[in-house]
């Protein structure tokens, strides 16, 4: 392919090929402060024109790579960066076999990991990003958290944080402008802007952390906290994992150990400030609870 770039995030080395220069240039900007990728790629993304003439006429980017889904709609070239990020997510979701993948954000404090699992709109990405700016926490990832099946540790996968709609302004108020990618307006998911993780998070991206608390956040309602029993947690986490079923006994053992040793809570909160305060409080309480062997 005409244009390409290599990117390294945690254990994953991507190569991204593109029929156009623009998405590659935007990726180069967004990932400029990341440590240089090493070695051969283990995941390949292809951003291609659906038909040869669509390279120039109403240019449309198909989301492709080693792993693809049929009938995925192409995006206009103006959203090429979004296509690239989605294609990277797809390679992970469909192709990664080394670790259990959870659809969750994660942040590390004192060597232990807070994992926040939820779908789009749950607030998991924004909460993790806010924690990452607080100076006390290291952002590990906003979209995917990797669990090592052997050690049970959470691995960092700090991609640029995908902020949507109101969250953009919220983070822009706290974070310097040079840590943001371009504003992508009116995408299928609304307005999107990518935020580069803090330099310390990128520098430490190869450091794992043992999970100590799992939260299922829900944004936009009254403050509440509810315990989640291990059996319910098991079900919720298999639903949040794209590759659990492919990991065999190793995945099962990792997941059962996780649900039997790490406390889990469903939390809802009306706004970020109270959400953050709640998270800090719950973390402090979890730190005091005896660890189940």
């Amino acid at each position: 392919m005409r244009h390409s770039i290599r990117l390294g995030i945690g254990p994953v080395q991507f190569r991204v090929g593109s029929d156009w220069a623009q998405p590659v240039a935007q990726l180069a900007n967004l990932y400029a402060s990341y440590p240089a990728p090493t070695g051969p790629a283990n995941a390949t993304v292809r951003l291609a024109a659906a038909r040869p003439w669509r390279r120039f006429i109403r240019p449309a980017v198909t989301i492709g790579g080693d792993f693809t889904i049929p009938d995925a709609l192409p995006l206009p070239l103006s959203m090429g960066l979004l296509a690239a990020e989605m294609a990277m997510n797809l390679q992970m979701a469909l192709g990664w076999r080394r670790h259990m993948l959870l659809h969750a954000s994660a942040a590390e404090r004192g060597g232990r990991a807070l994992i926040m699992s939820g779908a789009s709109g749950s607030g998991k990405s924004t909460l993790a990003a806010l924690l990452g700016e607080s100076g006390e926490w290291r952002l590990m990832g906003d979209e995917f958290t990797l669990i090592d099946p052997v050690s049970g540790a959470a691995l960092a996968f700090p991609r640029p944080v995908s902020l949507k709609n109101a969250a953009i302004a919220e983070m822009a108020a706290r974070v310097p402008a040079d840590r943001f990618g371009p504003l992508l307006k009116d995408t299928p998911k609304g307005d999107i802007r990518h935020m580069i993780p803090p330099p310390a998070a990128l520098a430490a991206m190869h450091q794992p952390a043992l999970p100590a608390l799992i939260l299922f956040p829900r944004f936009g309602t009254e403050l509440s906290v509810a315990r989640i029993a291990p059996s319910e947690l098991f079900v919720r986490l298999t639903e949040a994992s794209t590759n659990y079923a492919m990991l065999g006994a190793a995945g099962y053992n990792a997941l059962t150990r996780l649900v039997q040793t790490v406390p889990a809570l469903a939390v809802s909160y009306p706004d970020s400030a109270s959400g953050l305060a709640l998270v800090e409080q719950l973390w402090a309480e979890a730190a005091q609870e005896p660890v189940i062997p």
Partner: protein, 95 residues
């Protein structure tokens, strides 16, 4: 199923079990499938053990260990229903 149906559970070494509060997680190494079983299914698996049973004998065995009296009907029929669920999951064979 009927009284003569032969029942046989998966050899214990092929299943990995984990007790999670109300449910028992079971990983079947042969199928790669994960099952979450509620009582009395895990207990039935335990009771079947490693040998083969006829349904009628198994029902009698359970009756000796547990109080099977119920207003819902014939114990053997109820046990057969639960065992069918286990068979559908592949965890036991009933033939």
């Amino acid at each position: 199923m009927h009284g003569d149906t032969r029942l046989c559970a998966a050899p214990a070494g092929l299943l990995i079990r984990a007790e999670l509060d109300a449910l028992t997680a079971v990983y079947d190494r042969r199928s790669g499938q994960t099952h979450l079983l509620a009582a009395p299914l895990p207990d039935l698996l335990d009771a079947l053990g490693e040998r083969e049973w006829a349904l009628a004998d198994f029902t009698a065995h359970l009756a000796a260990q547990f109080d099977l009296a119920s207003d819902d009907g014939d114990p053997q029929a109820i046990i057969a229903e639960r065992l069918s669920e286990l068979a559908a999951l592949g965890l036991i064979q009933a033939r």
